[in-house]
């Protein structure tokens, strides 16, 4: 089961209600055979832009972050269920990818164009193409007239 991050924005509400909403969100994951690795409360704060959800305009939200392992097919179901939940203002699911090590290529990128790999590749490709600035139509084509507009 791949790991997903579920970013939830819940509407403004008192604590007991918030608790029951979180419980509902969690059981929805468990019902589909998923597990919860971690729950983070990112706090109650003003949203950077107002959001309308379920007929209400929200300017503040409770931000929560669930780290879940769930079957891939269940994710669509989960999103659909959360979209119907009136307490959830906004929800996003991202797949967690472990970052692979890479070495910085900045030095190669700062070289003059002629020394850069990508530019050299472009020049090689350019050599195989017809240069339309220097290309001249050859009249020995077998036609007794010039086929293009002069």
């Amino acid at each position: 089961m791949p790991t997903y991050e579920l970013a939830l924005m819940l509407r403004t509400m008192p604590k007991p209600e918030l608790k029951s909403t979180l419980k509902r969100v969690a059981t929805a994951v468990f019902d589909r055979g998923g597990i919860i690795r971690n729950i983070e409360n990112l706090g109650f704060r003003a949203m950077p832009y107002k959001t309308s959800a379920h007929g209400l305009v929200h300017r503040e939200a409770n931000y929560f972050l669930f780290k879940i392992d769930s079957p891939t097919q269940a994710v669509v179901d989960l999103k659909e269920e959360y979209s119907r939940d009136v307490d959830i203002v906004r929800q996003r699911v991202f797949k967690v990818t472990d970052s692979d090590q890479h070495s910085c290529t900045l030095e190669a990128e700062l070289l003059p164009p002629a020394y850069r790999k990508e530019v050299q590749k472009m020049i090689e490709i350019g050599k195989t193409q017809v240069n339309r600035f220097t290309y001249k139509f050859k009249y020995n084509s077998g036609l007794d007239y010039y086929p293009f507009q002069k």
Partner: protein
């Protein structure tokens, strides 16, 4: 008798002389060879340090939850994501930063059209007025 003597010296003793002399020469060269004086293989002392972008140097992976870091790559006036010619990041990190900013904006962690004013006094990682490469703006 004298003829016999010369024959003996030339044909029988001569090779042994040669042997002797060669062995002496070998011994003398061994005595002269002293490796402490020879040039030593060292790496180029004038080699410049490898240029690295700031995120690679500090080994930071941009994350959409860390919107305070991401907001440093955003214009305070328009919320536009600064390009590579301004941020001075390598291709990979720039792409990562842009992707994570998009995610953060989509998650309502970060605004689209302005920068959170509580982050205005954050340290500047680069100067947008002096891009490292010329551009058309």
């Amino acid at each position: 008798m004298s003829i016999f003597k010369t024959f003996l010296t030339r044909h029988i003793l001569a090779p042994s002389y040669r042997c002797l002399s060669s062995s002496i020469r070998l011994a003398s060269t061994a005595a002269v060879t002293d490796t402490s004086d020879e040039p030593v293989e060292i790496e180029n002392p004038f080699q410049k340090e490898k240029k690295q972008c700031i995120l690679c140097k500090l080994n930071i992976t941009p994350d959409y939850k860390n919107y305070r870091l991401l907001s440093q790559f955003q214009s305070p006036y328009t919320g536009r994501i600064y390009g590579r010619h301004i941020t001075g990041l390598c291709n990979t990190k720039q792409a990562e930063v842009e992707r994570e900013i998009r995610k953060a904006q989509n998650c309502a962690f970060m605004p689209y059209y302005y920068k959170d004013k509580s982050f205005f006094k954050d340290p500047k990682l680069f100067d947008p007025e002096n891009p490292i490469r010329s551009h058309r703006f």
